[in-house]
Symmetry: C2
Subunit: 200 residues, 2 copies
């Protein structure tokens, strides 16, 4: 079987959310699986010198309008959380902790995080919020909390983020298909074309 | 008849070039005309604090790969001029000078500028290069040169660029359909959807 497609995203990226609602179906249509890889754009920004979208004059105003418009096109409810952008460290760590045990559960958890943030406008950053969300999906809250707050697991997540930046991930979503990088929710059509054609 | 679609671009933007090869056909399919409006990204960058794509670590490397890949998808020859990015003041001024007299000719001229830059890799910035290119299309070179180097016309072009930034144009291409802004060559599909549906 072909290698999984790598789907990098930051939970604090509405475009990551938009792509997350389609990437698995899209890939599955071509017999491909998808490995979800939450990362932190802040780490990439340190390398690239970029800054959060809404802090950029002109572009930030456009982005706010575009988030909502893009979501309507996908028939998704959408709002920005009051605290935005946010540091998605805890939900990301929880994702990898769950992913080590049950990748399908980890994806369901990630989808729930996205919905809490962009449908309900919740603050998804507190460790207890994250652990309660997972507990609602049958996860042992205490084990999860102990896991993701351990020095070892913090290091693990730091390594994941560093590896993403090393691979050139500078934005969200960032999709790598057989070594070929595609940046942006608006590139899913090109990702699909790459899967259809095997590259052009 | 509906208002024309505004197509803002910088000649120094490969994504502007890519979109320029499709925007008129796309709009025409829905009975819409397109007003081409060259501008200077540098002026927008002063407002937004952004900088040229290739100067941005990680993103610049991706962009170089993406320019070429996107062009292949469109079956277009593509190279970057040796001097890139470039200050497209003269070709832009010449465009508006021609546009005042013959908009169809101005578009043919703009397409020729894009081809000279991104197919042949020429430096399209010198005033004599620009005027010779137009002369090859039947334009009186001396009149054009006198026109675009006049203080009055410099002011005219400055006003066009300022108006673009005032409208929120921060990137290239930037397409405005009935007041609705779309940024990026990868958004042509959404522009089309907007034309089909009248907005969503």
């Amino acid at each position: 079987m072909a290698n999984p497609i790598d789907f990098y995203f930051d939970f604090s990226s509405p475009y990551g959310y938009l792509a997350s609602t389609r990437i698995d179906d899209l890939a599955g249509h071509y017999g491909r699986s998808v490995k979800w890889r939450p990362m932190l754009l802040g780490a990439a920004f340190k390398e690239s010198g970029q800054k959060p979208l809404l802090d950029i004059p002109l572009k930030g105003e456009y982005a706010k309008r575009d988030f909502a418009r893009f979501a309507r096109l996908y028939n998704l409810k959408f709002r920005l959380p009051d605290a935005f952008p946010f540091a998605a460290i805890n939900p990301s760590r929880a994702f990898y902790w769950l992913d080590d045990k049950d990748p399908a559960l980890a994806k369901r958890f990630a989808k729930a995080v996205f919905r809490q943030a962009y449908v309900d406008g919740r603050d998804v950053t507190p460790v207890d919020f994250v652990c309660d969300l997972a507990a609602g999906m049958g996860v042992d809250k205490d084990k999860l909390k102990a896991g993701i707050t351990s020095a070892e697991f913090k290091e693990r997540f730091r390594g994941e983020v560093e590896a993403a930046v090393q691979r050139g991930v500078f934005g969200s979503p960032f999709i790598i298909v057989d070594g070929e990088p595609f940046w942006g929710a608006d590139r899913l059509a090109q990702v699909e074309e790459w899967l259809v054609t095997g590259g052009w």
